[in-house]
Symmetry: C2
Subunit: 334 residues, 2 copies
């Protein structure tokens, strides 16, 4: 593989000149520029980003940790990040943690050894865990995309989950529902907790009592939400509406409800959360809380880049505002 030296030799100039024409870092005469370019062409020279990074102490690469990139919500955020990477000439090292804390640690270690310029963390395993790895390494610019407490100072960009939960529930109430249930996420996850807190607040404000028979806890996945709903179904009287705390779970619930002979939204109204791409194509199309995943990804990237470029010391905290998307899974009782 041709190196800068080979190019220099062929063009009969010094390596420094080659470097400068390649990077346009200072004036080189027309004539020599041409010679260099010809040599590059001839030798199929491709600069080694490795060597360059070693010298420059940056890699133009970010590392991103995600619980599972298979989840449409994460997938959409990742895509927003990746798009921005492309636009700015960065690369993305993507790692899944799959709920495994050891894997999180291991991956962070690898990423830091590879000297990524920054880290994007959207992994649940992070929360309330003591990431000693961060103490062992030089501090790397990091932005966390989660609602949780991280235990170390960092930029943060998050969805206003509390407000989202509130909006969702309020919509059900405004639609005339009074018997309202909730299938929430794992309460040890801050996001789940906040969405549920929003639910509570809306119920409280409307002077509606929460029937705990109608509250089930699941894990943000289709499968378990279906099970959770069946459990709720067994208990006897059903609510007329359920706030299901993310769209994937809503999908599971709709499926389970159908198989139990319930018709959505006639027998039961469902509102979801996230507005993933497929929400619109569910049957019935899902009324849900929209959060701009693409923006989330984009903002996270931009915040990270800004931190690096401006060497900002302070920590930013950005909050995205959720909005309601009305579709066909909630029945108007009024």
């Amino acid at each position: 593989m041709a190196t800068i030296k080979d190019v220099a030799k062929h063009a009969q100039v010094s390596t420094s000149t080659v470097s400068h024409v390649l990077n346009k870092t200072r004036y080189v005469s027309e004539e020599i520029t041409e010679k260099v370019k010809a040599a590059v062409e001839l030798l199929n020279y491709t600069p080694s980003a490795l060597a360059r990074s070693l010298k420059l102490k940056n890699t133009r690469t970010f590392g991103m940790l995600v619980t599972t990139s298979i989840n449409p919500f994460f997938a959409e955020v990742v895509k927003g990040v990746e798009r921005r990477c492309y636009e700015q000439g960065y690369n993305l090292l993507l790692c899944n943690t799959e709920g495994d804390f050891e894997r999180l640690r291991f991956n962070i270690d690898m990423l830091l050894q590879k000297r990524v310029d920054g880290l994007l963390l959207m992994s649940d395993e992070l929360v309330n865990q003591n990431i000693d790895i961060f103490e062992r390494h030089e501090p790397v610019p990091t932005v966390v995309m989660d609602n949780g407490d991280t235990g170390f100072p960092t930029d943060k960009i998050q969805d206003n989950a509390y407000k989202g939960g509130y909006i969702a529930t309020q919509y059900l109430i405004e639609s005339g529902h009074t018997k309202i249930g909730c299938i929430r996420g794992p309460i040890d996850k801050p996001t789940a907790k906040k969405r549920y807190a929003g639910f509570e607040k809306a119920m409280y404000e409307a002077k509606l009592s929460i029937n705990l028979d109608w509250v089930e806890t699941s894990n943000f996945e289709c499968e378990d939400a279906a099970t959770a709903f069946k459990k709720l179904f067994q208990k006897g009287e059903l609510p007329t509406a359920i706030f299901v705390c993310n769209d994937m779970m809503a999908m599971g619930v709709i499926n389970a409800a159908n198989s139990l002979g319930l018709s959505i939204p006639d027998d039961l109204s469902i509102i979801g959360y996230d507005d993933i791409k497929i929400a619109r194509y569910m049957t019935p199309s899902l009324t849900t809380i929209h959060q701009s995943k693409f923006n989330l990804g984009r903002q996270a990237f931009d915040t990270l880049l800004d931190k690096i470029q401006t060497k900002r010391e302070s920590d930013l905290e950005i909050q995205l505002e959720p909005t309601l998307v009305e579709r066909n899974s909630v029945k108007k009782l009024l």
Copy 2:
């Protein structure tokens, strides 16, 4: 940031000794090993994979190009690859092409500059395009996960799309359908072409004629498939069953059919293709052709790793076999 030199100085040994204890590349006395480890601990030393890679000429990093990681099918494959990367101590640089050939070129260029050890290509933009980039660089171990012709020799791992299309159609026929339509993918994509060819073969063998009014072409996405179905609907008499050439399109079709007052599977049977995670949770749950996406990813990784480790010159071609998954979107007429 501490370097190997710093460690060596603190431990009062040479850098080479430090390197050897870190990599266990040869015997070092107990006593010195301890000293080195203590220094590593003390200085929070983290080896630079950059410097190491420069010297060793490998990066333990693969690059992967995907049309769009947001598509559940791709997402699941990527996850299979990523899992394997983790298990084998590799990292994954993930790039989306989003249908943009320039972006494909640019990304390949970056990946090669970063000296990835291998390339996994699952991007449609690849097909029938002249990737001059590959000529400009040293050959990099590559595996292509697509049915198309690549124009350059490479390992290939693909789904038997022809057979899958055949199985799907045959299932509809066996279920008693004779009026069968098809919503296929873009016919310039080999995968789409082969699935459709399988459809044709099954129809031909059953002596059923193909009504071209019932054949629409779409782009493997929800949105357009819904449109395509509406177009088909307008034409008058409907088929009793449709082979929709992937699950995302099937979702769009089911949604469109519902909004047109059609009940699935009573008025219209649908069979999909891919068996993405959510297929089971559609309403009705989707009968489809399963292909092991996780395996596809795994095999692709393993093939690539094998090529690197054994320096294999010949090109492998692996084919995965599709299978039928019976669920509730096809009505039995017999």
